[in-house]
Amino acid sequence: MKFSEQLKAGVILDNPVFMQTIGLCPALATTTSLSNAIGMGVAATVVLVCSNVVISALRKFIPDKIRIACFITIIATFVTMIDLALQAFVPALAASLGLFLPLIVVNCIILGRAEAYASKNKVLPSALDGVCMGLGFTFALVLMGFFRELLGAGTIMAGLSDLLPFLSGIIPSAGFAVPGLSANPAVMMILPAGGFLMMGFIFAALQKIMAGKEDK
């Protein structure tokens, strides 16, 4: 499969969150702002790529019967590394992701790709698969995070320059305030209920788009 096809599959056609409806917990919990969404997406992508590479490289040595346990051990190793790295270098992000950082280990997307793809394919395609699926996951989180932050806090990209220091000249630390919304934000959207609500609307919009495509 060509990279462009893999990318299209990962981000759109087989998008882990929107099309396969897996990995919903982080997609709901860590998307209260765009910067959290990006942080979670990137952390999960790094784990996904690393675990895909290692699992694919070891696929001939891992006995079939205990493969799930082996996969989980490998994934947990990378999750621990990412967890410690974020705590050391981006403590603010680590604090706001909190419990969901170690919980990347039980993210169905990562184990799912290990089982469905990395354990059957060569190292390079597995790495690319990890990149594409990770991007798809990040895309879903970013979409959720952007709209929830916009409606719930009335800002765009708040805290993003703390996450990516090279942006600090362009984006103010508190983000861009949206006139009207920032004075009276719909706080519900950054509360748990708003996560379900936003995801429901995004899925409805997707169904609408898909139905429109089938009609043509």
Binding site: L99, F196, L197, G200, F203, Q207
Partner: protein, 204 residues
């Protein structure tokens, strides 16, 4: 000993912990832990009840065992950074053991809960409870209460949600693009909003 166990908790503390775990900080509707199975296994009320029972059972066991692993193995040896790896392996092994034990000793219970057990290993609620217990420094009793409470909260939410979904599929009319999963998410949002009403209970 070079390390200290968490302080014992009074009855009031334990009680308020239980209320908090079941209602105020409901695992699914407030903390988003265990959402995959929440949407996956909530099409019918009886399977939802089965899944809920299995989660309570495994969570209680996992809380106890992970507490012991943390305070008797990882902490004395200074291996705190191995938390994630150790806990997920402990939970996976535990679920496997429970499955084998139930199959042999309690076939009736096994046929009721058995199919849900493998699902629970990758249920983030169980690992979440194990890690929360340690992060919050609960005593052993506190951990057990928190584990069972979180499991009961999970069961409450999933059973409520399954009943709503049954009626939704049978009778509700909604716009075409909302049919199926989107409207389930919207009803979960409404359920979550109603659970926000419990937040006043945390004054204890």
């Amino acid at each position: 000993m070079a390390f200290a166990f968490p302080d014992a908790m009074s009855l009031t503390e334990v009680l308020s912990l239980a209320v908090a775990a079941v209602l105020v900080n409901n695992y699914i509707l407030v903390q988003f832990l265990g959402c995959c199975s929440f949407f996956g296994v909530s099409k019918k009320t009886d399977t939802a009840v089965g899944m809920g029972m299995a989660v309570i059972f495994v969570m209680a066991l996992a809380s106890a065992v992970s507490w012991a692993v943390w305070y008797f193995i990882l902490k004395p040896l200074g291996l705190e950074y191995m938390q994630t790896i150790a806990f997920i392996l402990v939970i996976a092994t535990l679920v496997q053991f429970v499955e084998m034990f139930m199959k042999k000793a309690m076939p009736a219970l096994y046929s009721a809960l058995g199919i849900f057990l493998p699902l629970i290993t990758t249920n983030c609620a169980v690992l979440g409870a194990a890690i929360s217990n340690i992060d919050n420094g609960y005593s052993f009793i506190g951990s057990m209460v928190y584990g069972v409470g979180a499991g009961v909260g999970y069961t409450l939410a999933i059973v409520l949600f399954a009943s709503i979904r049954e009626r939704l599929d049978a009778t509700a009319q909604c716009p075409k693009c909302f049919e199926g999963f989107p409207i389930a998410l919207i009803s979960a949002a409404l359920l979550a909003m109603s659970f926000m009403g419990f937040s006043g209970l945390s004054i204890w």
